[in-house]
């Protein structure tokens, strides 16, 4: 069972030991040009989650390839590079350049950041443009804030995506309790953490049913039980986001908790429960059915 970090939730160069505890490290999104990101205040807590408005701060593709990637490769962990742009052509250009680098295992197309302007093209058009430029495995990171996640997932699959990552944050706003001004400098930001989990589970289930692709489940995963819930809804891997901020030991803890959850259900592999939310939950597991009967 693969455990990753959610893009933008870990800097492997400032916390290499955390990156090494993952099965693969996902970079912060890389864009064509350097981005300093949004002005502070960039983060805010809510009762059940957090908002961020970082604005895809990153060194740009040139410096990423020249300085960051060689250092990331030294970690000894498979590297997924998150790719972001403002048009399908941006994604295609970035994937062409990144695709040549053997240090990179997977390219994740961030087509759903709530903190920057959206490309005019659809997720599927971006996947198709990237697909034409690289043979690297391509994952499309999708937003749950669309009318039909299944349709978007299916279209991404048809355009050549090898897998999906669901979900990105959704837009939210929090007010300062004393001034009643928005806390974030951009007013709204991306909402993550426990509050996102039910939304993410619904999106994963819809994408699994519609596409059949491998899925990285993301959104409020804090425990092994949560990871199991994502698998049950169709995820084949999970990524940890907000929980890493408070518990950098979460990858090892979640891995151990998930193994214990699977063992308690009599499963040799947690992935044996993949997608059973669609087929009746535990009742659809042959061993358990036999036991219960």
């Amino acid at each position: 069972m693969t455990i990753l970090n959610a893009s933008g939730c870990l800097d492997a160069l400032t916390a290499p030991e955390v990156a090494r505890s993952l099965d693969a490290f996902v970079t912060k999104t890389v864009t064509p040009l350097v981005r300093v990101g949004n002005a502070p205040v960039r983060i805010a807590e809510t009762d059940h989650g957090m908002l961020n408005s970082i604005g895809l701060a990153n060194p740009g593709i040139d410096r990423f390839l020249a300085e960051h990637l060689p250092r990331l490769a030294e970690l000894g962990v498979p590297i997924w590079v998150s790719v972001g742009g403002f048009s399908a052509a941006d994604y295609a250009d970035l994937c062409a350049r990144l695709g040549e680098r053997p240090e990179i295992a997977v390219l994740e197309l961030n087509v759903s950041c709530p903190n920057v302007a959206e490309p005019a093209e659809s997720a599927a058009e971006i996947v198709r443009a990237a697909r034409a430029e690289t043979s690297k495995p391509l994952y499309a990171k999708l937003s749950p804030a669309v009318p039909d996640v299944g349709a978007v997932a299916s279209a991404a699959a048809g355009a050549g995506a090898d897998g999906l990552t669901l979900v990105n944050t959704i837009r939210g706003l929090v007010l300062d309790e004393r001034t009643l001004r928005p806390v974030l400098s951009t007013a709204a930001g991306g909402y993550s953490g426990p509050a996102l989990r039910p939304i993410a589970l619904a999106a994963v289930l819809a994408a699994y049913r519609a596409s059949g692709l491998p899925i990285v489940g993301v959104g409020g995963v804090e425990t092994g039980r949560h990871a199991l819930e994502f698998i049950v809804c169709g995820a084949s891997a999970v990524a940890l986001g907000t929980v890493l901020f408070t518990d950098p030991g979460a990858p090892e803890r979640v891995r151990a908790e998930l193994a214990a959850e699977a063992a308690a259900l009599g499963l040799a592999n947690p992935l044996d429960a993949r997608g059973i939310a669609l087929t009746g939950g535990l009742d659809s597991l042959p061993r358990l059915t036999k036991y219960v009967n």
């Binding site: 400032t14 955390v18 960039r42 009762d47």
Partner: protein, 226 residues
């Protein structure tokens, strides 16, 4: 990076603030000016706090209960366990010839531990009310000013200034004492460079305070204003 669940040993009011004493466990107290991420019970994110005192087998933090996280920390019950990650970031350089500690408001927090490590140098503290100034009990020999007098009016020349306080105070100190070391503050989700949330604009750049600070050189700050 080490994270442990530490027991609350005691908590007491100090003016409007609350001094929370935790068992030290296996954590290193670190260098004065470094910080720890304290789990805020019932909240999603931890809160960054600099160490106020490092008594034997304890870590003590001064909390200003101004928001939901700091209020949760300030009301933690004795015996409750709180996850603590740290020490993190870069603290004060202690190799200074004539140290002078300068604190404003809750910015007094790291100064008692700093004072202890420097052998009790002179200190000047500024507060916005007599009630807030009760916190000066934590640094008994300090000179105290209360608004409308600002602490920057009470800094004598010729010292190596080590300061902590609100941003306007730090920028004013930077102009007065270009060699000063300034402990900065920002909202922070992680404390180890992951979230990019704690950037402050200094030196004309947005810098992640957790990995480049929280103690910054005044020269860097003044460059930003120039």
């Amino acid at each position: 990076m080490r994270r442990e669940a530490l027991r609350v040993l005691a908590a007491e009011d100090v003016g409007p603030y609350r001094l929370v004493r935790l068992e030290r466990g296996g954590l290193d107290p670190g260098v004065p000016g470094q910080f720890f991420m304290l789990e805020a019970p019932g909240r999603v994110l931890s809160r960054p706090m600099s160490l106020c005192f490092a008594p034997r087998r304890e870590l003590a933090f001064l909390i200003d209960p101004v928001g939901p996280g700091s209020r949760a920390l300030a009301s933690a019950a004795c015996g409750e366990r709180i996850h603590v990650l740290g020490p993190l970031g870069n603290g004060y350089r202690l190799d200074v010839a004539r140290p002078l500690l300068v604190g404003g408001g809750i910015g007094i927090a790291p100064l008692p531990y700093l004072s202890q490590r420097l052998g009790g140098p002179p200190a000047v503290l500024g507060f916005r009310s007599e009630w807030h100034a009760e916190a000066a009990v934590l640094l008994p020999d300090a000179d105290i000013v209360v608004e409308p007098t600002y602490v920057t009016e009470a800094i004598p020349p010729g010292f190596d200034v080590l300061a902590c306080g609100p941003e306007p105070m730090l920028r004013a100190v930077a102009r007065l004492a270009p060699g000063a070391q300034l402990a900065w503050e920002a909202p922070m989700a992680c404390g180890f460079g992951a979230c990019y949330g704690c950037v402050v604009e200094v030196g004309g750049q947005l810098r992640r305070l957790c990995v480049e600070g929280p103690v910054l050189r005044a020269e860097v700050v003044v460059e930003a204003a120039a």
